[in-house]
Amino acid sequence: MERFDIAVIGSGPGGMSAAAHAAELGLSHVLLEGSPKHSNTIQKYQKGKHVMATPTKLPLRSPLDFAEGTREYILDKWEEGMTSTNTNIQYGSEVTGIDGAKGDFTITLANGSKVGAKSIILGIGVQGNPRKLPCPGAELEHVQYQLDDPDEYNGERIAIVGAGDAAIENAVGLAGQNKVCIINRRDEFARAKQGNLDLITSSISDGKIECFYEANPARIEENPSDESRYVFVLSTPTGEVPVPIDRIIARLGAIPPRKLVESFGIEFPNDSPAALPELSSQYESNVPGMYVIGALGGYPLIKQAMNQGYEVVEYIQGNDIEPADHPLFVEAFDGLPYDKSVDEILEYLQNSSPIYNGINPLNFREFILDSKVSKRAPGDELCVNGEFTNSFFVVIDGNAFVKLPGVGEFHFNRGDFFGEQSLISGRRRTATVYAGDDCVVVETPRRSMVKLINSVDSVKRVLDEAFILRALHSKFTPNTAHAELAEVVANTELRTFDANQDIYTEGEEGDEVHLIRIGSVTSVKQSNNKEVITSYMPVGHYFGETGVLGHGVRTDTVRANVRTETICLSKDSFVTLMDKEPGLQNEIQSHIRDRLTVEARMEAQPKGGELMSFLMGEGLGEGTDVLLIDETLCVGCDNCEKACAETHDGNSRLNREAGASFADVHVPISCRHCEHPHCMKDCPPDAIHRASDGEVFIDQEACIGCGNCVRNCPYDVISLQKNPAPKPTLLHWLMTGKGPGPGGKEYADGETIKKAVKCDACKDNAGGAACVRACPTGAAMRLNPKEFVDLVGSRFGS
């Protein structure tokens, strides 16, 4: 067994940088890579893709070069760097297990051989290894687990195994110039996106692709007759079927690396899929001598990972160098009233609030780098009532306050926090908070908070408690002191419902009251054996109160439109709240009256209920600003698309004609600015934000064009686009006819950088959205889902 001082597992940017630095220092090292190429994730990018080098301010610290450029350029540079430093990389060395302890680890490889190491650096990313075919022959030469470029294959017989989006896209991409069959374990394609489902079912019915349903791979054999390379034997309900085949592409998903990592002894704080392993400030895991860098440790950007690779080797050598981001902290802390070093300030910040208690120092460092620490002048507005911002504040020194009508000022002192309502619910701010005397606050953007909530249980608990207390207080008992609500808060429960799940159904017994904190619901009633949607309720609304005040039988069905979380109050708790607040009972009664009026109106218009169901079915229930087109007015001039393109660098972010219609209401393909935007879920440079008026937009400077948001958006409203060349002015175009006119576009030669673009609801235009303003007939309109009831009323008016 060969032994090394340092074994690096995974040759991504972080792993390569670490190994190259070890090589540069002349240390005994090995870089183990499971696949035949380095940088798997980046290899999978499409050809010629432009890779960004964000964050631009962060200096690069690595023996390998990295500057923004094409995928090929960057991969070549790394290849050169590894050669010139004599990095010892071993391809095809998939790691299956690690035993031993610091100073004497034994790494077991898939081929059974073993490697010894004193320290281990894990840089295996989060993509995971592709699931292998569970049958003999899975390792044959022409059995592959990814497809880079469908055009590389011509005239072959290819079997695709799998029924997900990747399998379908590969099958359809290859079907034009190859004979393709797809092997589906089940009798339908249930996991695929709607668009892909349509593609594959039509390709199968048109005979372009053959599909074997309920078929499992039994074995792959070399074909003795030379007619095809292999015979792929499938086991089907009617027996074994041999299929002559030249190539097999299995798209069975990836095995998340967490299980493997846990088998090495590394612990995760909880079961959340987003949880990160706990690391020291020197990237060391709970297993001494085993270090974690890059995306697996929560750092998805290439430059961060490369810097960590360099630093971790230094740490292993016992050199306590300052991390590469040190100068960024010096800059960030400039102007704070503290005469302390960076590390001392970090410690001071972390000790300020109990909410920071459970965070490990490395995560806290990253957290503060993402946040903004600043001293604010007395009277400054930190967050403004009605705005859509969603950052989170912790008071470090001095105080901040809200003005409560009739009660006076409520102060937040050192360690107190605010902003959790908008953060959790995705809705507007519910109060304006002002800076008080000597106010120093940490303002953290949504993404960093979400990351923290997912990885540190105590943060979630503290935030939820505060959320419930403040939500109940502002909704039901604004005149009661917080302390008096402690008992009620302790007796509440947070309930989570999936999209389309019934929270309760008409006719059943029940007397709990729900206050919506995430998502939205619709109330449904049975009318002439048909379901009619009678109302839509977003965050901040409550329902179920008729159960408490009435006879305890539900008079309607309440259904979650999207994943919804409610604060659930028992009858006793609700009665306690009514006892504490004398006016509450009257208020609730008038609330019930209002709702019944709306419900009666909707019940009288069953067509309206169908329209409402259609709008909810299109996913508009989670939107905040939805573009709809009245088909009775639309003349199809596409001035909306032209206006969009003209005001957004030449690329329209809406497709008027595409999309579904019902009762003359058309839902074009256009962003609906979701409460909890799917696009924000996995943006490596955190380039997607929500403006103060609620517009979800992509910061074009920060976007690296990775396409994650394009894939994550269920409504297909984001696309990767090149920037067209600038246009002549209208007058110039009219006079000379040169260049593209209104609505047209041209690209400059050599323009290759693609970035994600989507609707920003014209947030920078004081007049509002250009599409609506430019519609000559008034067919285009933008609505908040709350206004759907009015829309229905105007359609089927009573």
């Binding site: 048109d206 088909e631 003349v635 005001t647 219609s661 019902f662 250009a770 000559p776 007939t777 829309l791």
Partner: protein
């Protein structure tokens, strides 16, 4: 919310236009010029100035529509005002002329103005009526979606055709199918589809290209062929092809109707806009002539 250009903001520009009209009529009725009413009196000049300014402003809609960053009202508001004030112009212009017409540049400007306004009326009519018809005709599909369906039907027909003659027939019908075409073809809603019938199926036609309007010919030929065959594989194929071409016929009718409606929604602008520029030119000539050569 959800209002047409006619009742934009409770038809506010209807009231503006009505006010302008009433003031103009009242002034015309009250004014007693020396001789017959004409453009040369003070009221004539006033109405002329108002009319000329209206014409220039009405023309500016084309610029406002393309000023996508403009925050000066909405395009819908402008269009609504355009419609009502344009209608009022008919009255203002007529009163300005004092009902005096002749064979001269002044009357040319007047006639152009009337033609432009009348073409605008047609525009309002189609804008009010055709969007509904278009939605109804497409019944939830898009033009691209319908064209895609045609491709699929064609692919299926190609696969079904199981004799050389059937293949040639199918191929010829598919090749000769035309959608869109000239303005006239688009407006009339009839594509100029042609095809040739294989000799074995119709010896009289000599394989010459014939009209396959509304896909009637191909359906007839297939129906004939079916009556000649007494079962067998080819009969099966012909039956399926008949069903396919019938489906294609329905799709084509919807597509042609869609193309027709789109054309109607656009065609009037091809008169309205150039004629308004003609009007502008005639207006300038009219003003210059009045001031320099009267």
């Amino acid at each position: 919310m959800y209002q047409s250009i006619l009742n934009f903001k409770r038809a506010r520009y209807l009231w503006v236009a009505l006010a302008l009209s009433i003031v103009s009529i009242a002034a015309y009725w009250w004014h007693q010029p020396v001789g017959l009413p004409n453009g040369g009196t003070w009221l004539g000049y006033t109405l002329g100035t108002v009319g000329a300014m209206l014409i220039v402003w009405l023309l500016l809609l084309g610029m406002r529509k393309r000023s996508y960053r403009s925050n000066m009202g909405t395009v819908q508001g402008w269009t609504s005002a355009h419609v009502y004030l344009g209608t009022a112009l008919l009255l203002v212009g007529t009163l300005h002329a004092g009902f005096q017409f002749g064979a001269n540049v002044h009357t040319l400007a007047y006639v152009l103005m009337v033609v432009v306004i009348v073409s605008g009326f047609f525009g309002i009519f189609v804008y009010m009526r055709y969007p509904n018809l278009m939605t109804y005709n497409r019944s939830g599909d898009t033009l691209d979606g319908l064209l895609e369906k045609i491709h699929k039907v064609d692919d299926r027909s190609r696969r079904i055709a199981n004799t050389p003659n059937l293949s040639r027939l199918v191929e010829s019908a598919i090749d000769g199918c035309q959608i869109g075409g000239s303005w006239w073809q688009q407006l009339s809603g009839s594509g100029r589809s042609i095809m040739s019938v294989p000799f074995a199926m119709d010896p009289d036609a000599q394989e010459k290209a014939q009209s396959n309007k509304d896909h009637k010919l191909v359906i007839d030929v297939l129906a004939n062929r079916l009556s000649q065959l007494g079962g067998g594989e080819e009969a099966g194929a012909v039956t399926s092809l008949l069903a396919n071409f019938a489906a294609k016929q329905t799709l084509l009718r919807r597509i042609r109707r869609d193309v027709q409606i789109r054309a109607i929604l656009k065609i009037w602008l091809y008169f309205h806009v150039p004629l308004s520029f003609g009007l502008l030119a005639a207006l300038i000539a009219h003003v210059v002539v009045v001031f320099f050569y009267w």
